[in-house]
């Protein structure tokens, strides 16, 4: 995993490097706990001695979560992130950092579930029903992974649009559109903060997924309301130089 380290180095202005380290640290105790759950020292174990780590990962596959409880949880997350922030950008950065570790972990769950499901998935164009899908190597399969399976895992429906920047100066920019982001359903941003979009949290998840795949990227959420969709949000993905260079090499090599 050299990629996230490079990503952290490039983001010298933000401290998402520490964030990443924290995520790595969190994963360590998680495995630690798994082995420890039998001995149950310092860990609360339910009476039937089954912890969350004993459950099968596919158990919650089709389980649904109460929308209201998520709304209240997310409202508290926003309120928490709002403490001692210096401005809207700072707030969005904090929300992004809350989502980032989630994206890193979701990626593994997503691959695991896509692999174990017998039905042929639309994970990547190269995957056939027999062989397990590969990790995306090129940008487009990655974007399809985010637009389709990731969105379905998170929101139970695919995203609404996937576009490439038309400007020749920014070939590294891609846009994913969500007409009505679930996280913003009950949120009305006050007028003095009209630039804020709380879907920065989702942008953080996307960023985590991109980084987890080895595509170093910056993802931001922007408001783009229309008459029909007042909450329309565009997630702007900016891939790093190294990713674009590799993309060119892979294109020449004919890798799909």
């Amino acid at each position: 995993m050299t990629q996230p380290a490079r990503h952290a180095a490039m983001l010298s202005i933000s401290n998402s490097g520490s964030n990443l380290a924290a995520a790595a640290e969190k994963q360590q105790p998680a495995q630690h706990l798994h082995t420890q759950s039998q001995s149950s020292q310092g860990l609360r174990v339910p009476s039937n001695r089954k912890t969350i780590y004993d459950r099968h990962l596919n158990r919650s596959r089709n389980a649904e979560l109460s929308r209201a409880s998520f709304a209240f949880l997310f409202a508290e997350m926003v309120t928490y992130a709002q403490r001692r922030v210096t401005g809207i950008q700072d707030l969005e950065k904090r929300l992004n950092e809350q989502g980032y570790p989630l994206g890193l972990r979701l990626l593994d769950l997503l691959f695991y579930r896509t692999m174990s499901s017998s039905t042929s998935s639309s994970l990547s164009s190269s995957s056939t029903s027999a062989s397990p899908p590969n990790r995306p190597l090129r940008i487009l399969p990655l974007l399809h992974l985010i637009h389709g399976p990731l969105w379905r895992l998170l929101f139970n429906r695919p995203a609404d649009a996937l576009e490439h920047s038309v400007s020749p100066e920014t070939p590294n920019e891609y846009m994913i559109t969500d007409n009505d982001p679930l996280v913003n359903t009950y949120i009305s941003v006050p007028k003095e903060m009209s630039m804020l979009n709380c879907a920065a949290f989702v942008a953080g998840i996307i960023e985590g997924v991109c980084d987890g795949c080895g595509f170093e990227a910056k993802v931001t959420a922007h408001n783009q309301p229309t008459e029909m969709w007042p909450g329309r949000t565009i997630f702007l993905l900016r891939f790093g130089e190294s990713v674009m260079e590799r993309e060119k090499v892979l294109e020449r090599a004919g890798v799909k």
Partner: protein
């Protein structure tokens, strides 16, 4: 058949929301709306406190099967037991006094709904309008969704939630 306007009063009697949906009532100044909210809050509290309490025997089950009008229940309930063991209850046992619920003129009807937490919704409608409780329930639901789940809303403060406005107008327009 029209909903003229909605007022929301917080538990301290302050006006937190005022919105007109259809013309039909004369407009008041902002200050007058504040006075209206405060006055209504006071009158509501008075009407609640003057609700008579009916004497009831302690031994009698709290949930009497007869849910008819309290006037019909009270004489039969009070006459038989000894007065020393009598306690008091509101006309409907188990339900505290609600206070002023509707007020009617020949041009409009004012319906008040108080939530369990003390927030009051005042709805001004056409006097011929029916099913106001359905509208009230939906307004309460929208309030719970788009105001209470909004992280930028501060409790007891004026409601400035764009999505609440949008969904409220959208739903009322869909009904009309």
């Amino acid at each position: 058949m029209s909903v003229f306007s909605l007022i929301i009063i917080n538990k301290a009697g302050g006006l937190v929301y005022q919105r007109e949906f259809q013309p039909g009532l004369r407009k008041l100044s902002t200050n007058d709306y504040l006075v209206l909210a405060g006055t209504f809050h006071g009158v509501h509290a008075i009407t609640r406190s003057i609700t008579p309490k009916l004497p009831l025997p302690v031994t009698a089950p709290a949930t009497t099967p007869t849910t008819s009008t309290p006037n019909a229940v009270s004489p039969s309930a009070t006459s038989t037991p000894a007065p020393s063991t009598v306690t008091h209850s509101f006309p409907n046992p188990g339900i505290p006094a609600t206070g002023l619920e509707t007020m009617e003129t020949d041009k409009f009807r004012l319906t008040c709904f108080q939530t369990l937490t003390g927030t009051k919704f005042l709805l001004f409608t056409d006097p011929t309008m029916t099913n106001i409780d359905v509208i009230m329930k939906k307004i309460y639901e929208l309030y719970a969704d788009f105001v209470m789940k909004n992280p930028f809303y501060q409790l007891e403060m004026p409601v400035r939630c764009e999505s609440f406005d949008r969904n409220l107008t959208g739903w009322l327009r869909g009904r009309a």
